[in-house]
Symmetry: D2
Subunit: 349 residues, 4 copies
């Protein structure tokens, strides 16, 4: 057994932070040596997250100053946009790898980034060498990176749904529709009236129709896959459940490919991907089957035999959509088995 990877987490009081802790606590080759929070410095993580009692009783939040993050092998940022970019230079200069769960390294087009995130990018010079951390698209580049931009939750589910179609030039890229639905944990662990139980349970709505930050990320990454611009209509919705994303993707076929051929195409594309599961023809993935896991489940349809392809894709927004994928990236960065620490089976029921 090799020496464990020393892991730092910046901003570990939110949901992506607690999910990182849950996964890393059982990771055989990683050890969380520092976790920072200005607001909770001095509090043990097991006090804030009682599910960690008996598991991580010694880990305590510290201020960023106390944390000696440069002693870590890798630092995860579970912070607001802009924080990772501001600190990445110092860390990478010290040889520390950086995995940002926010958006600082998701877009290569900085003009687009600055428009949608309404701030000047803190370290534009680091962006070109950073790698977008979707292993199913970018595995080799990830292995050699110093900075990973961990994908957004909606973009992860969307890209995996469309990748086989775009790589094979099978759909009209001028008109792709992504109807997306997310559980409420996607809004984070912030005190907002809109996210109270009494405001969100037993209800459903669309939101973000005037523009959601995951739209430019989706369009930039799909364009890379397609080799040309892709025009996406993206409408997210809020589900009355804690975890889980489903996206239903609609596109027009540019070739006459049968449902059986589409099924086969998807199965082949993902045959060697242990975290992407193509459901058998005629069945349908449900979000609960991936809850707490790093798995994306997909089904592909050609309804009524018309020239529309429909793909439904489910992930856990906090796992494959955030912290699980971040650990998958960490495993790649350090040459570990890609699934290490990510073998959880979803509770059913």
């Amino acid at each position: 057994m090799t020496a464990p990877i020393n892991v730092g987490i910046v901003g570990g009081t939110g949901y992506t932070g607690s999910e990182l802790l849950r996964i890393l606590a059982r990771h055989p080759q990683a050890k969380v040596t520092a976790i920072t929070s200005r607001g909770e410095a001095g509090t043990s993580v097991a006090k804030l997250f009682p599910s960690l009692r008996g598991v991580m009783d010694d880990l305590v939040f510290t201020t960023p100053d106390e944390s000696n993050l440069t002693d870590c092998d890798v630092v995860f940022f579970a912070t607001p946009h802009g924080v990772a970019a501001a600190q990445a230079k110092e860390l990478t200069a010290a040889g520390v790898k950086v995995i940002d769960l926010a958006a600082d390294f998701r877009l290569q087009d900085l003009a687009v980034w600055e428009k949608w995130y309404a701030q000047v990018h803190p370290s534009p010079e680091l962006v070109p060498s950073s790698v977008y951390g979707l292993p199913e698209a970018n595995r080799e580049a990830i292995k050699g990176a110093m900075i990973i931009g961990n994908p957004g939750c909606y973009p992860t589910a969307t890209q995996l749904a469309l990748m086989p179609l775009l790589e094979n030039n099978l759909i009209d890229v001028s008109d792709v529709i992504v109807d997306a639905k997310s559980g409420i944990s996607g809004a984070g662990r912030n005190a907002k009236v809109d996210m109270l139980f009494a405001e969100t349970n037993d209800s459903f709505k669309a939101y973000g129709l005037n523009g959601h930050r995951h739209l430019p990320e989706i369009e930039e990454r799909l364009a890379v896959m397609a080799g040309k611009p892709v025009n996406v209509t993206f409408v997210p919705h809020l589900l009355p459940m804690i975890r889980g994303i489903e996206v239903t993707v609609y596109a027009n076929l540019t070739q006459d490919i049968s449902a059986a051929e589409l099924q086969s195409l998807f199965e082949q594309r993902y045959a060697n991907e242990q975290f992407v599961d193509v459901m058998p023809a005629g069945s349908m993935p449900e979000t609960r089957s991936v809850k707490g896991t790093n798995i994306c489940r997909l089904a592909v349809y050609r309804p009524q035999g018309r020239n529309k392809v429909v793909v439904t894709s489910v992930i856990d927004n906090l796992a494959k959509g955030a912290s699980g994928q971040a650990v998958q990236n960490m495993n790649l960065l350090f040459g570990l088995t890609e699934s290490m620490g990510l073998e959880t089976i979803a509770l059913l029921p």
Copy 2:
């Protein structure tokens, strides 16, 4: 005050039946005089539905034979497909009006009906004179009808979302997408493992991708509005909540009409419709705001200024999507104020 309308309900043990009872119990001009159920004959409705204790303590389920439905002024069918059509001839011959909450009179094209419902239509001769009961589209015809085909839940939300666009020839009818989500009460009050709480809570999935019976209904009625065939991709999903439907509709604009003009178009179209509420520009309807009510709330968007129009529409599947709309139709049939008995305000929270 005139004599009350004598109402019969056939098959009142399901959710559309209990919702009819809830509404009619407070309707100032209607009186439920007969309710049939083979399985529950002899049971009081208040025993089966405790919410009716103190409200309808004398009403008891009877067998169809005992019920003397021909003495009623109107009979609602809350039954499986085929039952209303089998009994409508005798009732209408006796002067009794019929409102079918199932699908027997929703489609004019009998070949399509027989294909999707997998049975021979029991009374094809009654179909041509029956009227599709969407008041916002068909108000005058409804007033003079003997048989009303009460619309499906998804078709109601979808038609109200698209009506202003189709009537004004603003969208490409060859490619309309309807991404629909329904609460679980839409599956009815039947003992099925798939609809158990432990199977459906905290989860979400698409279903019916190989063909849902509401697709031909949607396409037939949209074609009437458009004056030409409309091609719809329809994907329903199952929401972890009891009541509520949301549909997000996507279509390509054939004219360059601004978001403000779209907003104005919708507001004008529905200015005199008390059960259709166009939300202010920039806001979004949520299903809870219509729960238990006969209201459809809509919002219209043109995301990113591209040529796609997106409409989100919410209803209560058991109210405007079934029993509320059925009572609205009853009010029209008998010359009553259209909103009589339908003034409930949604609980919030």
Copy 3:
């Protein structure tokens, strides 16, 4: 028809405020003429609560100064503790009746009040003539009151469960256990991390074991019923649902009274109470059957024939547990039919 009652609401942006609006909007003899909120002054109530669109489109929040509350016939306080007591003197001096939905007039023992509410009572001289607004216990006194202390939610469900037993001296008052469970709306419409959907859904816990403010209210009122002190162990719990309270009450019988006699006792005690429904022997009330209604449903048991009596009691915490009961009190204050405006039937499902 007489002139409508002019109603003012102070602090109408929370859940008891919105519930008052929902009920009063359909009350045939009341008109909300003023509603105050410092934070939302200038906002229409229909903007904050979209369920009121089309119902109360002209009502706008105003600052307390603008509101001319002394022109009202009655003012409801849906405010933090202490506010009603501070304003009641001026209002009652102007002939305006006051119904406080907070705790300022729930306790006659001011020392106890000041201990549990950790403040000096703003108007102790008003307390003796104020009336505790539980109509089933205090109907005649309520009719003549100027100030009503509207009961707490847990205390309402608890008192109705115990009243027949205490009035007939059937239980040992030294040891009464109240195991209470409430939906999350009881925590109010405040931005707190603990009440987020992602923190409360799919979970359950006890809370308040070191002392909940409803304990002294319960003990004081039960003592009035019993004519002697009553010792209560009160443990509230938080339910993953929006509305509804259930209390299960346990007490030792001091007489050998059969289950059938207990059933009969409860039925007789509440025979003339339209808002208290004793369930048939062997059945069990569920919270959904009272959601949105002013009804308390009860069942009484003597398990295994031992000398323990168990009563289960359900109400809607925002209706009979707050705003519904407040309107019931208003009806009594103004000589109206007691159930006016309170005839809603619960949605089922």
Copy 4:
């Protein structure tokens, strides 16, 4: 590494069966070699439970006849009451250990068993040597047993709440109250109208007040702990959530022991129990913190300093309340580390 334990599961299509599969799939020393179901024979477990796709793709339900259960080292029964007792003789004669997740071996008093389970016990001669499988009470006896009666869910949470008090003779055993609440998965994976999502969500009720089968189990086991009969009032309730049990236990103290001493007593009693976690004084366990885990979390209170002790105890009804505890017992039976395969951390949120 030793040869794996060959495990058979009888009746694996319900929730305790699927939970066994989830746990055993990741157990380093166990291998499920047979799983029986008459109804699903020929179906793969991954088809019935999609969460097992990619994990147990080769395991297929077989009929009991095909299964050669006598070749197993241990057989779990996740069956209706009476099945395990009927088959245990043959299996144990063949040297196969039996863990029954139903009630056949939970009671030593067969007259009580036959009264509450309304059948003749199929193998009364096996009962005396069978062992009640609560490791915290019975660890040594379990290690040497051939037949384990795995405890019921409510009895597990209740016994762990009361054990320190009864073992130390601190409470009045004539009057113990257990107010218990369970998620809906406790009702099993059976098609019943009462357990539909639309019947149970957003509602709460008591049930079983005329007698629940866990009452005699609780009373028999508490009597063993106390060394004398214990009189329990047991009222279960149904929670609108999938997994989780909370019990709040009330008893009268027979000695003047302070809250701090009670806290210390509980902490000491469970200091070496890795699956029992006593929460710090003043805090409260919530069911979500144990979901999917084998942990019981407890808090002990003495409210208002009166002579009543209150304990709140939470478990996952399918894990520590059923299949998790069954695997804990298997580990003890085969001399493995007691926590093997049971290290899952609860998802939070």
